[in-house]
């Protein structure tokens, strides 16, 4: 029985996407951006929502460049993660916006629940890092 549960658990962990490098740039204003790396599992899935007790709400955003060269961000319904592929939520692309985030300091750890279209809820811990570090130099 225990073996069966273990086998099931390990099957589940490889079927869906896995998340690493979750980090929040230390915010200066009311909102913060959370970045992370997703590696798709055996089956494609889509990130469709997120929530945390550390913010009023969490929105999936994409930053895009407009025709006139200005940049803006818009809310998206989902971030698709194809099977086996790596998708990075990174500055200038996708991010999770923590709206009206609570005061944070570098080193804080924030639990965020990610909701997947097929995989359901997954809780990840994001570390607060200096804003100058989110781009990697």
């Amino acid at each position: 029985m225990a073996l069966a549960v273990l086998a099931l658990a390990s099957a589940c962990s490889t079927a869906g996407p896995s998340v690493s490098d979750a980090r929040i740039g230390l915010p200066a204003g009311p909102n913060a951006a959370l970045y992370l790396t997703v590696v798709g599992g055996a089956e494609a899935d889509s990130l469709v929502g997120a929530d945390t007790s550390a913010a009023r709400s969490v929105e999936l955003h994409e930053t895009t460049m407009n025709d006139d060269g200005t940049m803006g961000m818009s809310e998206v319904a989902a971030v698709e993660v194809p099977a086996g592929e790596t998708v990075r939520l990174e500055p200038g692309g996708f991010h999770l916006m923590l709206v009206d985030v609570e005061p944070l300091v570098v080193g804080d750890e924030v639990d965020v629940t990610l909701t997947w279209e097929h995989g359901g809820d997954m809780t990840v811990t994001a570390e607060v890092v200096p804003a100058a570090e989110v781009m990697g130099g």
């Binding site: 740039g25 204003g29 060269g69 940049m71 961000m73 100058a132 781009m135």
Partner: protein, 207 residues
């Protein structure tokens, strides 16, 4: 046979390090390519003429207040979590590495979101990034005039209520001490590029 050779190499290390350290000191700051790595503005353009208000409410005449100084001009807004704080923090990080350049550079952040960003909030936002940065605001029409003078597309607002977002020019406009704009820096500019270009720009227009 290998033992004496290794010993010899070890003995030379302190001398090599000393020579390296001395050559860095002789260069003054750090090694640069001597060339700008940002997006070049050709021909270089003059400083835009506009007057806005700083976070203490005093009028700030951009040309007068920054004359003869390395100046970085950026238009953004406080609710922006992705582009603005990262772009500004990259500069602040390089300032920490080059205090002499930080001392002679003015970073001017113009909030293009007068509907939400108060002078007090702009000050506390910038203080969280770098207390040396100057924050400006004004009326919607004054801000549009400043963006027009600076040659950037005016910011536009998308969405309703308090949760609207702002499309804005996300590049930093750099003016050397000769008061000319030689280069701009789109979002994504690396700290190594800033390190190089701030050093190159700081010498332009100096005899």
């Amino acid at each position: 046979m290998a033992e004496p050779a290794r010993g010899g190499t070890r003995r030379h290390w302190p001398i090599l390090l000393l020579v390296l350290a001395l050559s860095l000191v002789a260069c003054g700051r750090d090694l640069t390519t001597g060339e700008l790595e940002g997006v070049l503005v050709d021909p270089p353009s003059p400083k835009p003429s506009f007057v806005l208000y700083d976070t203490s409410g005093s009028p700030f005449d951009f040309v007068e207040e920054t004359r003869g100084q390395l100046t970085l001009l950026y238009f953004g807004y406080l609710s922006c979590p992705d582009i603005c704080p990262v772009h500004l923090a990259q500069i602040a990080e390089v300032f920490d590495r080059y205090p002499d350049i930080a001392r002679e550079t003015k970073v001017v952040f113009v909030s293009v979101d007068p509907g939400r960003d108060t002078p007090e909030e702009i000050r506390s936002y910038l203080d969280a990034i770098d207390t040396r940065f100057i924050g400006l605001t004004g009326s919607q029409s004054e801000l549009e005039a400043a963006q027009d003078a600076a040659g950037v597309p005016p910011a536009t607002f998308v969405g309703d209520g308090d949760d609207y977002t702002v499309n804005h020019a996300a590049w930093v406009i750099a003016f050397a001490p000769d008061d000319l704009n030689h280069s701009i820096y789109p979002f994504g500019t690396r700290q190594t590029e800033w390190s190089n270009d701030l050093q190159v720009l700081s010498t332009m227009g100096r005899s």
